[in-house]
Symmetry: C2
Subunit: 339 residues, 2 copies
């Protein structure tokens, strides 16, 4: 079975089609959205999540919503565009891909006449989706060289098909391996507090026919000690110029344990994740999330709930990008990524 499609055009080309991630893993609910309010709501409430998927979903959603609301009139579409784009961009203000996608759509409109505007927006949204899918596939094709039949791989959080418009980033090599007839056994760590590993990674892999086992985050070190992990692949939210990598909280602990057990630790991400403006991990600001994500808290107790942590490049074996595999371990200087 093919990996699922988290965001796409509806078959009639009139709406944004999403797989509602709020309903997973209990129910596989597909929704076609065409109103800007319902699209904004889907992003805000995590029906669509994963930075690349949010950007793609907002771009397709913007094109679909403008076409419907303008009744096909280019002048009306141009008047509606800035407000619709700002509404969608405001739903997740920290998601870089989202504002990037909205700016790209606005730039497209700026260079197009009213008569061709709706077609141009539609084509630009499709291009954003297609480029994302191509990037995923390239990561998968480079990364599959690190896998072998029967290999046991640990991943964290969800950097799969649900987080992109393609076959994911960290999971892309696993899907390409599957296409080539290789059987990879994936261990998905639960990823507290929101359980993206248990809810989403396990769901999409099992659905695609990949053998997957959920573990508590705290069990990864014991699993490695038992000799059950041969490779770790995780995604990335931001990579500093020296290779220090911000990713979902818990990634750093997995990297420390992997080093202790001599297990290769790979980061899979599009080249665009490398932040040339940040020299090293000290410059990455860690976002903190609400206490109630952790569930019921006793009166008088506080909660420390960071969204991600920073894994130093010294713990990373390689970066699997759409441009190829970049060795990291033993990187000599501060400028791992200079181009």
């Amino acid at each position: 079975m093919q990996p699922i499609q988290s965001v796409s055009w509806s078959p009639d080309g009139e709406a944004l089609r999403i797989l509602d991630q709020r309903e997973l893993p209990a129910r596989e609910v597909v929704r076609d959205l065409v109103g800007v309010d319902e699209i904004a709501d889907a992003i805000r409430t995590l029906a669509i999540r994963g930075a690349p998927a949010i950007g793609v979903g907002a771009a397709i959603g913007l094109a679909a919503a403008i076409a419907r609301a303008s009744h096909g009139d280019g002048g009306t579409a141009r008047r509606l565009l800035p407000g619709f784009a700002a509404q969608l961009a405001g739903t997740r203000p920290t998601a870089v891909n989202l504002s990037w996608a909205m700016n790209r759509m606005l730039a497209c409109a700026h260079s197009t006449g009213d008569d061709r505007l709706l077609d141009a927006l539609r084509a630009e949204a499709t291009a954003i989706a297609d480029e994302d899918a191509v990037m995923c596939r390239r990561i998968g094709e480079h990364g599959v060289s690190l896998l072998s039949d029967g290999m046991r791989v640990l991943t964290h959080c969800n950097a799969g098909a649900l987080a992109t418009s393609g076959i994911g980033t960290a999971l892309a090599p696993v899907y390409v391996a599957l296409e080539r007839g290789m059987h990879v056994h994936v261990y998905a760590s639960e990823t507290r507090p929101l359980r993206q590993g248990a809810r989403l990674t396990a769901w999409e892999l099992a659905r695609a026919g990949v053998q997957v086992t959920i573990i508590p985050d705290s069990a990864a070190a014991a699993l490695m000690s038992a000799g059950e992990v041969e490779l770790v692949i995780v995604g990335a939210d931001r990579i500093a110029r020296n290779g220090d990598t911000a990713n979902k909280i818990g990634t750093y602990a997995h990297a420390i344990s992997a080093q202790r057990h001599g297990i290769p630790f790979h980061v899979a991400a599009p080249w665009s994740t490398i932040d040339a403006g940040t020299p090293d991990g000290r410059g990455i600001v860690v976002e903190h999330r609400a206490a109630d994500e952790l569930g019921e808290v006793p009166a008088g107790a506080a909660v420390w709930n960071p969204a991600f942590d920073v894994t130093p490049v010294s713990l990373v074996t390689s970066f699997i990008t759409d441009r190829g595999i970049h060795e990291a371990r033993g990187a000599a200087g501060p400028e791992l990524f200079t181009s």
Copy 2:
């Protein structure tokens, strides 16, 4: 405020009084139990949990249930005793303290005449509870020497007052510090899947006036990297002769991270936790628990849910026992514990 009492005699001396841990942290529910069925049920459903507390609770419960059911008649009591003890021992077959406590009660009965039997059982149960509380206090008084005012301490799971009839094991030094006017800030890792850290440790510490912050298990390494942890103290389920320590899943990951960050890692446990029959960690069998503890699992996905892991003695700084503090790091030979 004093630490809570998880198991004790009821004030009238007729029943087992428990603080129902199923209701925590939402409600503080005290129950007086006197029927053997309801006592067995309380242990089986984790209203009483923590190996020392289970042993104490079963001993007091046995004495109370026998007194009630025999209407004070020694001969009847003796006839009922083996069945009641077996019923309680069978509730948690792997809990060593439970069978140990039941055997001790049976041995007491064996050496006592019918006329004094009920008083002897009552006295023996009280002795088991008192010895446990004394053991906790000794651990606390030895361990407090490792703490200082304002210190930030990480612990895992619940090895506190709720798990014993006294002030706990890993938390005992914190309570003694509090008595002496020192303010220790405890970070309690959540402890998936059953959340004993977030539900129980945070609750009992906050109630006693200790500053406590809950973190996801996966955030401990990031917390250490941020310089927020000066000391780690955990309990132990079993300690091999060489010092390898079985404790709640996640302990090993914390120990690996502590070593990387140069943070002392201490194990607090009664001397009776040392298993002289097990030379090292390889001999400790890891119990696996039900998949559904982790919550909803997607169709087709498996779950790996071990109850504990084994931390090698090389990662342990010292053992805080009722007999004193035993240095571990740099232990030269396989026989750390020979007496």
